[in-house]
Assembly symmetry: C2
């Protein structure tokens, strides 16, 4: 039941009202993989430059994250710098240097084409489509995207969505994608394009999930301290997918539990910069917070 | 187990992106009473002017809302005009004509001093305090307030809070009151002043509730159409209090159910202008939506 993620591995510089970090590990595939690795074996397909610190490679290996598909290309690693104001739901990008990511053409190594669980992190929909065509028959495919692709490659993204089971996006993207202010209606409208399941992430306000005609609403886990929201969405996806990869049969109840595991993993990652909190995290802590979440949301 | 509310009865004019209504029934005591009247007998203490339409008096009577404490004073009824933009969490006031409300000095009729459940709707904390001193020994006291009193009569409001079991306020007010951005910490800080229970209303993002050291998070009921958010908070309080007045013993589990009943009642009132939706509402619909809410929030 292996998991494959295709996305970015990056070097981030981040400033929030609670601190500042330069040149730390980032990227969608990074966050996703670390979160999912609490549950299962993950393989990543991504590209970094020759400047990518060896210590991170060692780190991925130590966490049993498969890096057979992590290409080391001539040039520099993808670099992103962003800052957040007190409205932590929205990052302002200072710069994006795509570097080697500019020429990224994901090639799935033969052994990984049979992966059961495929997560297409936020990359050009053309590349997401090319990944889908290289795979054998994944049991579950999820994908993420962003405002840029919705604005500039909507057609291609829609084509990807016809082949995807779960589409994860945030509230602003859902409204942009559908032209629909109401998130229930936006989710239904996206569903009509293809994905059976639509997950709309509302940051500190939780998640709206639609599967078939069944809605599910989950608040975010309430945090006393939040330092850096970077990677919350990919960590959510990693927790959700990681959990799903461990259940015998995926049904509505396991999907909902998976959403809560995503919520819990995301609640940890934002407590510190980069992936720092995940590095110190244990399954015992994850389970304790899951139980606490049950307590604070139960009413009958 | 009678309920008493002290607050305003007003004539509102409201404009939202979804329509416009002039000179319709409004006021905190109005919304609260109608919502609570689905569960129990309610008495209101408020003041209106000689211009107050007879049809509304008849309407209160028909709903078994006790108006023994509704004073009809020389002058005009309290009038409020407001408008909402697409961010429906925040009203812009066009005018507030207090009129007879300016000289409102609530006098609790003797028969009502023994009420078990007292709701102090949003009025001057001096008046809330005077009401408290007129009462015998209410079993449960809740109160609401607003940014104006927090800014101008904080001391008096704090004095009221030492005698109150439940304090309901919205997220902006909680932050203003405590100077604390984090709502968990804000709730704890308010609790230390007196009220055992703090309910922070986050509009479309639901409710955060703290009782003792037990937190409870509830999302709002997701609506496909929302026309006018006026009165949502008082309707929430009415639903919550109405339900509580019917349970044998109030414990944590009944408090949480009461919060959900508040959520459900509020979800109905915002579907139409003024109290229109509540007029057509049945207990069957309330219970059906409560069950639906259980379905869409359950994950284990």
């Amino acid at each position: 039941m292996s998991i494959l993620v295709v996305g970015s591995v990056a070097i981030d510089s981040v400033q929030t009202p609670f601190g500042k970090k330069d040149a730390v590990l980032g990227g969608s595939a990074t966050y996703f993989s670390i979160a999912a690795s609490f549950f299962n074996k993950v393989n990543m397909v991504a590209v970094v430059g020759e400047d990518f610190p060896k210590k991170y490679i060692t780190f991925f290996k130590r966490r049993s994250i498969g890096i057979e598909g992590l290409e080391i290309a001539k040039g520099k690693t993808f670099k992103w710098k962003g800052q957040y104001d007190y409205d932590l739901n929205k990052a302002d990008t200072i710069y994006t240097h795509l570097n080697v990511f500019n020429d990224f053409h994901p090639r799935i190594p033969g052994r990984l084409k049979g992966a059961n669980f495929l997560f297409l992190a936020n990359i050009d929909p053309e590349l997401q489509y090319s990944v889908l065509s290289q795979m054998d028959r994944p049991r579950l495919v999820a994908c993420d995207s962003m405002n840029y692709w919705i604005a500039h490659k909507k057609r291609k993204l829609e084509k990807v969505l016809t082949k995807v089971d779960i589409f994860l996006l945030n509230d602003a993207e859902a409204r942009q994608f559908t032209g629909e202010a109401n998130l229930l209606k936006a989710a239904q409208s996206i569903q009509s394009i293809g994905p059976k399941v639509v997950v709309i992430k509302k940051g500190e306000h939780g998640v709206l999930y639609l599967s078939g005609d069944s809605f599910f609403l989950a608040p975010a886990y309430p945090l006393e301290s939040l330092r850096d929201p970077t990677g919350a969405g990919d960590t959510f996806a990693g927790g959700m997918f990681g959990f799903l990869s461990r259940v015998k049969r995926i049904h509505e109840s396991s999907m909902r539990k998976a959403v809560i595991y995503g919520t819990i993993l995301a609640s940890f990652v934002v407590e510190d910069f980069s992936v720092n909190r995940l590095l110190k995290l244990s399954m015992t802590e994850i389970k304790a917070r899951y139980r606490h979440f049950m307590q604070i949301t139960k009413f009958s």
